[in-house]
Amino acid sequence: MILDDFMLRALLAGAMVAAASGPLGCFVIWRRMAYFGDATAHAAILGVALALAFSISVFLGTLATALLMAVLVSTLAGRGWAMDTTLGVLAHSALALGLVAVSFLPAVRVDLTAYLFGDILTVSWSELWVIGAGAMAVLGLLLWRWRSLLTATISEELAQSNGIRPDLERLVLTLALAITVAASLRVVGALLIAAMLIVPAAAARVYARSPEGMAILAVLLGWIAVSAGLGLSLSLDTPAGPSIVTAAAAIFTGSVAGAGIWQRLRRHD
């Protein structure tokens, strides 16, 4: 099969998003921030509307609103608001507000589905550079702070006794999450970004024996999901973003089922 230029770009874009969302997704799972990821991603639609209205780059617009949302959620949580309710209100409000805001823009300028579900097959080389830079920034942040992030995740008190400031580490994760959202918007879309964070990492948990192992495996499984999803999309003409997430879900199901069968076999030995 000849790899068309647009397929190559799609593969690269997906691979870079998976490289960032794998390790970040592990932290999202370990710290139980799944809904937090959703709220941040949904806020991105509002960012799209604002960026188009004020004619600034969509990447910057989504980055700004995602960051704002993430900081807002962290602040409210820090003040003792019930996380579940706060996120439920904020996530859906941000999405609804974004959709309303987009409707004020001339229809020719916005293809809403592209932002809701991604449009990885039309990613241009220049967009690819932005996605790549975002993914590298996230990976760099996580690698740089890995040890303190991990310690703060295991126990904030232990971290404090080692001179680590858990609030700073939370901020690092918040920033990484906002960048990931902005970089992934074109690839899987606002509604499915959280899936790219959680599903590969959750599948990796089944086999991982160490935090690092889980992060690396999450990236590998993410890559498989991207390739399989794009293949599916190409052969069956299905939407690319949802196809990637479907592939990831299949990998997760396979992992969990496989681990269950393996354990049962070992017990019979």
Binding site: I29, W30, R31, R32, R147, L150, T151, T153, I154, S155, E157, L158, Q160, S161, N162, I164, A202, R205, A208, R209, S210, P211, G213, M214
Partner: protein, 254 residues
């Protein structure tokens, strides 16, 4: 004269705009000293420990610690999300460089040999406390700080854990700052007991504190019979100089 490890002067701590949890604390921890902090629930024991270690900033007052004080901290509880795969060995060397031999000997020292490759989530409560202790000891601390480390252990488990801390302290010569919810078991090991209830009610040697009216008002007399008895046995095994302290508590039991 050796400088103290920690010196707190006029320290008050408050969370948010609420009334202070701790007020007007003056406290000095000397090299190698064992200090036990007791007090009812909500008396600010954990906050005291965190303020002393620099984990919580005081509202007013000063906390001075020896430069580069090596602290081994055993937290009150550690909830590890099962989604995080972590072996015992990896946990013990968290934030420090240790080879496999050191990890194995540390784990043997605290009485849980051979658990190095197990997942942290599979340990029992007692094993987990000992692994927490091993991690705290890994950096050869000058100060071992423990926040109610025996929660969830049964009585023999508690006694064994305290005996272990005493032994380890003798070997390392480190100071120990221990928050306890039960006075009777830890009394014999301590140089000093600090009775806390938002402020320092009374402090002194274990026998002095257990005789102090402030202490009796807080704890009453009849609560610790069984533990005091256990303490008694434990003292026999170790021939400890503070034997009298345990006796005193025991004798006053109705």
């Amino acid at each position: 004269m050796i400088a103290p490890l920690i010196r707190m002067a006029g320290v008050s701590v408050a969370y948010g705009n609420a009334a202070p949890v701790l007020s007007r604390i003056d406290f000095v921890l000397n090299v190698g000293e064992i200090v036990t902090i007791v007090g009812p629930n909500g008396s600010g024991k954990s906050t005291f420990l965190k303020a002393a270690l620099g984990m919580t900033k005081p509202l007013v007052g000063t906390v001075e610690r020896e430069n580069r004080l090596r602290i081994g901290y055993v937290p009150q509880r550690l909830h590890l999300d099962p989604s995080l795969p972590l072996t015992v060995a990896r946990f013990v060397k968290l934030g420090q460089f240790l080879d496999r031999n050191s990890i194995d000997s540390l784990l043997s020292r605290v009485g849980v040999p051979g658990v190095a490759d197990r997942d942290l989530a599979t340990l029992s409560g007692g094993q987990f406390q000992r692994v927490l202790l091993a991690r705290a000891l890994a950096g050869k601390p000058q100060l071992l700080a423990l926040d109610e480390p025996t929660q969830g252990l049964d009585q023999p488990g508690i006694a064994a854990f305290y005996r272990l801390i005493e032994d380890v302290r003798r070997e390392l010569g480190c100071a120990v700052l221990l928050v306890s919810h039960d006075l009777h078991v830890v009394m014999s090991a301590s140089d000093r007991v600090l009775c806390l209830n938002g402020h320092i009610c009374c402090q002194g040697t274990p026998s002095a504190v257990s005789a102090a009216p402030e202490y009796r008002a807080l704890f009453g007399l009849g609560t610790g019979g069984a533990l005091a008895l256990y303490q008694h046995n434990h003292d026999h095994a170790h021939d400890h100089p503070d034997h009298a302290a345990a006796h005193e508590v025991h004798v006053h039991d109705p």
